[in-house]
């Protein structure tokens, strides 16, 4: 979240960064959720992710998130201790703008992929602060979104 104008994302203007931290296996920002939280109709080029009241951390900014609260010397970003927060979100992928069959032998993944439109509505709350994204969500806010049916690692063959 940033104090700059809508469309901006300058690290120097960031005031909140909500994420679930890297897990003990180094999996990046992934958290198990109920199966019903995700609905996918790949043939119809649609998917939806809905989660309510997820416990996350607010690391203030991406630099503090990735350095686990150390901040950065350059650009100067002060270290910030994370605080707990809850977020709720509803993300929808809808409609194909492009399609691709990919088989990437160097990264060992393959599958069918769609570039799609997408929208998000989300809410955050923590002591002293809450945030509500614009409703209804603006489809033009989507910069790039991808939906895929893939295999990687040992399932790549």
């Amino acid at each position: 979240m940033y104090t700059g104008p809508v469309g901006s994302a300058s690290l120097a203007q960031q005031i909140h960064d909500y994420n679930v931290h890297v897990d003990r296996n180094d999996v990046f920002w992934m958290i198990p959720v109920r199966h019903e939280a995700v609905e996918v109709d790949f043939d119809d080029m649609r998917a939806r992710l809905r989660v309510r009241g997820l416990n996350v951390f607010d690391d203030h900014d991406l630099a503090n998130s990735l350095t686990q609260g150390l901040g950065l010397p350059n650009p100067p970003i002060a270290g910030v201790f994370p605080v707990r927060a809850k977020i709720s979100f509803d993300v929808e992928w809808n409609g194909a703008l492009a399609m691709a069959q990919i088989e990437n032998n160097s990264q060992h993944f393959k599958g069918s992929f769609l570039s799609t439109g997408a929208t998000i509505s989300w809410f955050a709350e923590q002591p002293g602060f809450r945030f509500q994204s614009d409703t209804p969500p603006d489809p033009k806010a989507n910069l790039v979104s991808v939906l895929g049916r893939e295999q990687n690692g040992v399932f790549f063959s």
Partner: protein
């Protein structure tokens, strides 16, 4: 990475380990260890059994990107690039040994932030890099599981 940056990164890593220990210790005490990293509550064995105690979750993809250059913090994630053709994307999954559906978004929008103590509201911008993975995976226990994960 040049030598100067390597030195900086080395110093950062040393501080990082200390700070991480501090944060984890403090958070585990003040916030509850369960908040720091919840266990894999919603993944089942492939046969639907609940024998999941040994599975500490999936493994990360081997690849990814180096963030916050020049400090070089490697993350097992391939951010979407709006300028890149779809056919050239890197693996959008954060989980390796995975077969299933993945979704990723990169959205910038706006909303309203409110100071709940004063009631003052402010127009704010946001960037959301979020997604999901749903399917089967080989867990850290070497067994096949099914799970649904949000990328937050």
């Amino acid at each position: 990475m040049n030598e100067q940056n390597s030195v900086s990164w080395k110093n950062l890593q040393q501080k990082w380990v200390s700070r991480r220990s501090l944060i984890r210790g403090a958070a585990g005490t003040a916030l509850g260890a369960g908040l720091l990293r919840p266990e894999l509550l919603y993944a089942d064995d492939d046969d639907g059994d609940s024998e999941r105690a040994d599975c500490l979750g999936p493994n990360p993809i081997p690849g990814g990107v180096t963030a916050l250059k020049p400090f070089g913090i490697f993350i097992h994630h391939n951010p979407l690039n709006p300028a890149a053709p779809l056919a050239n994307i890197s693996d959008p999954s954060q989980i390796t040994d995975f077969e299933g559906f993945v979704g990723l978004t990169h959205i910038r929008g706006g909303g309203t932030g409110t100071d709940t103590e004063t009631g003052v509201s402010t127009r704010l911008a946001f960037q959301a890099d979020m997604g999901f993975s749903q399917g089967k995976f080989i867990g850290t226990d070497g067994r096949q599981h099914r799970g649904t994960f949000a990328f937050v």
